[in-house]
């Protein structure tokens, strides 16, 4: 069994394998497939509860995954200030080399869903090697 804690390392490696063997579009096809298959819960909760649904979803998942972050929810904004991403953090604390666009999987999985429900979203990679980024969602 590949343990849940080891998953991120294989996730990172498959991006590298697909990119080097078949090109970046293949990595994006993989992300799109994960979005269509595994992001139904976030799609549903944002559709039902909007910004509060985002708060509910990421509070739970980031709570499980760990890392250091602040989540801000106002009447018209939802912001994740990721000070230390638990996913990239795992890569940075092992011998494996992160895929050059590892952080790209996050907007690929979530941004279309967020926009579909009437919000604007911007993702800022502040410093990949410090595992820091920001996601800013606003009502349209």
């Amino acid at each position: 069994m590949i343990s849940a804690n080891e998953f991120i390392l294989f996730y990172n490696e498959i991006f590298k394998y697909l990119d080097s063997s078949f090109g970046k579009q293949d990595v994006e096809d993989l992300w799109s497939g994960i979005k269509d298959t595994y992001c139904q819960q976030i799609d549903r909760i944002i559709g039902q509860k909007g910004l509060k649904g985002m708060y509910e979803y990421w509070s739970k998942t980031l709570g499980e995954e760990g890392g250091r972050y602040n989540i801000t929810l106002t009447d018209d904004e939802f912001i994740i200030d990721m000070h230390y991403c638990p996913s990239m953090g795992k890569l940075l604390n092992t011998h494996v080399k992160p895929y050059s666009d590892y952080c790209g999987h996050c907007p690929a999985l979530y941004n279309d869903i967020i926009r579909k429900h009437g919000f604007e979203v911007d993702t800022y990679i502040i410093d990949r090697d410090k595992s820091a980024c920001r996601m800013h969602v606003r009502k349209r």
Partner: protein, 149 residues
Amino acid sequence: MDEYIYSQSVHKDFHGIMSFLIKFIRKKHGARHMDRFFTDAAVYIYRPLIQRIKEKGLQEIKKHFSRVFDAEDGKYRFQKDTEEELVFRVDRCPAIWHMKDSGAVIDERFCHCSTELVNTAIAQECGFRFSVDYDQEKGSCLQRFWRPA
């Protein structure tokens, strides 16, 4: 294996996404790429574990399995535990049962990739052999590492 990742919280939904990765590479690129990916990735990812096994023997595999299966509440036992052979029975695989309980689709080659290919690669790197007899539907298997005569 790098110690840091085992100090982190366990997010079992990742097993479902692992199943999707297997399905993606198998269906889109075929068994040859699937087997090559998991074999090569295992050798690279488990490099620290492989080094420890080379230095200290099968006890390092036992320690590794105990740690990851305990962290995910798996049910298992070691049926044989010597310097020459390690036999590991999994009665309830936490990955399979989490996916079953959460309704995730389990790819037909899940155990082949995540156990057979990965552990064969680790064993070969260390000069051991590996075999597994698994029942993916039941989430059980019998794994054997041994030193060839």
